[in-house]
């Protein structure tokens, strides 16, 4: 990685971070404060080294995927059948007949490995990319959940509470990678008005928050035979990612994307090439369902513009007071001239 890129990234990161921090400090609402428990000095990041991962070529299913499924199996949805449509729509999202799928993100599979061929520097390279939630620093899914059931742990892990999720899928809509996946027929909405409102429960990787809490490593990391996944203190991981990228003349994904995430991919082929390959493969397979995220470089965070609007709400009362002062002054000085004339004006136009 060239000096230039890391410097530019650093500059972008520091301006965004300080602007965001300033606004958040001033506007941190109780709603946010309750669900965002992240502590900047305790953040856990992860480095996924694509030069090391071979997609577990020697196994039927990548070991990280199997480990994740085993670890989380007891939390997988068990929908009540028959599953009803989302009235008034004539559809619902049901993955319960495809529980065994390991080739995409589903409510029953929180990580998968996308395998593509990328043409780069005159060679065709096989690239295997383990995918899951990126655990964003400024996570739109967590901030915008209308029911406030997405939590950020002190380690920065973004975690959906499956007991209270209503399954409106807003988190998926506002996630640039459409990560959380929905299963109908389970969760709180089934006890309320299942015909009329709610859609199920959203599922995704929670960074093995329970293991992190115990000081242990996530399941995918411990089973990877290649040491391609590494979790650790965020700043250390970030430093390591840049060092590794420099060493191999490679590229990083996740440091600027969606205003920065705790997950950093390092690769010796550029990510726009990888993204192109993923998109082409999906098109060829006519795959339009959710669960196979893109890898668009520098994908934007929808909250970034919103933070500006939040700032406007802070300035508004000052502007209102100033305008009132000016109008009051004008009206009062006008009255003085009229010497106590009627304040109620009569407009003639």
């Amino acid at each position: 990685m060239s000096e230039k890129i890391s410097r530019r990234t650093f500059l972008k990161r520091s301006t965004v971070a300080s602007a965001t921090a300033g606004i958040l400090l001033a506007t941190k609402t109780p709603g946010y404060a309750q669900t965002d428990k992240s502590d900047e000095s305790m953040l856990i990041g992860s480095l996924i080294d694509l030069t090391k991962c071979d997609g577990c070529a020697a196994y039927d299913t990548p070991l990280c995927v199997t480990a994740c499924r085993q670890k989380n199996e007891h939390r997988f949805p068990q929908p009540q059948k028959p599953i009803k449509d989302y009235w008034p729509r004539k559809k619902h999202e049901d993955w319960s007949n495809e529980k065994d799928r390991t080739d995409r993100l589903t409510p029953y599979n929180w990580t998968y490995v996308e395998k593509v061929q990328v043409n780069w520097n005159g060679e065709t390279k096989e690239v295997a990319i383990p995918r899951r939630c990126m655990h964003c620093l400024d996570a739109p899914c967590q901030k915008l959940c209308p029911f406030g059931v997405i939590e950020k742990t002190k380690h920065g892990a973004v975690k959906i509470d499956e007991n209270f999720c209503m399954g409106g899928a807003k988190c998926r809509t506002v996630c640039p990678w459409d990560i959380p996946q929905r299963q109908a027929g389970v969760g709180l909405y089934m006890k309320l008005a299942p015909e009329l409102a709610g859609g199920g429960v959203m599922y995704k990787c929670d960074m093995c928050a329970d293991l992190l809490e115990e000081g242990k490593s996530p399941a995918c990391e411990t089973t990877c035979p290649k040491g391609a996944i590494e979790f650790g203190p965020y700043e250390q991981i970030r430093k390591k990612a840049y060092e590794r990228a420099k060493e191999i003349g490679g590229f990083i994904y996740g440091d600027v994307e969606n205003s920065g995430t705790l997950t950093l991919y390092v690769s010796d082929v550029p990510f726009d090439k990888i993204n192109e390959a993923i998109e082409t493969k999906k098109q060829e397979e006519n795959d339009t369902r959710f669960g196979r995220p893109h890898m668009k470089p520098e994908v934007e965070n929808m909250l970034e513009t919103t933070h500006g609007y939040m700032l406007a709400t802070l300035i508004a009362p000052i502007a209102g007071a100033a305008a009132a002062g000016i109008t009051a002054y004008k009206v009062l000085s006008g009255q003085k001239k009229k010497e106590g004339g009627d304040a109620h004006e009569q407009e003639e136009k």
Partner: protein, 104 residues
């Protein structure tokens, strides 16, 4: 003569300004606030013309903050305007009383 030409307003301009500003802000806050729930995308089976933007969480969030700002603007305007004009109509002693009444 045109009726409009000699219209007599019951309320002075600053009051009308505040009234409509507050009314429009609140209505838009309700509409865009509902838009923060997964509602329009699901229940608007027939998408009335010009309402597609309501199904975008991003756009409704921007518009929501915009009208949050206008509502704050109009309410502070209202309070400051009436406090200032009220005080200025009082005599010295009454002005003192008025200000101290907040401290008691």
């Amino acid at each position: 003569m045109n009726k409009k030409k000699n219209k007599i307003y019951r309320q002075p301009l600053p009051n009308r300004f505040v009234h409509w500003g507050v009314a429009i802000s609140i209505i838009m806050l309700i509409i865009t606030g509902i838009g923060q729930m997964p509602v329009y995308g699901r229940y608007l089976i027939v998408q009335p013309f010009g309402t597609k933007w309501l199904t975008s969480y991003e756009i409704t969030l921007w518009v929501h903050y915009f009208f949050a700002a206008t509502l704050l603007f109009f309410t502070t305007y209202h309070i400051v305007y009436h406090v200032v004009t009220h005080i200025s109509h009082l005599g010295r002693a009454e002005q003192k009383d008025f200000l101290f009444s907040f401290l008691e």
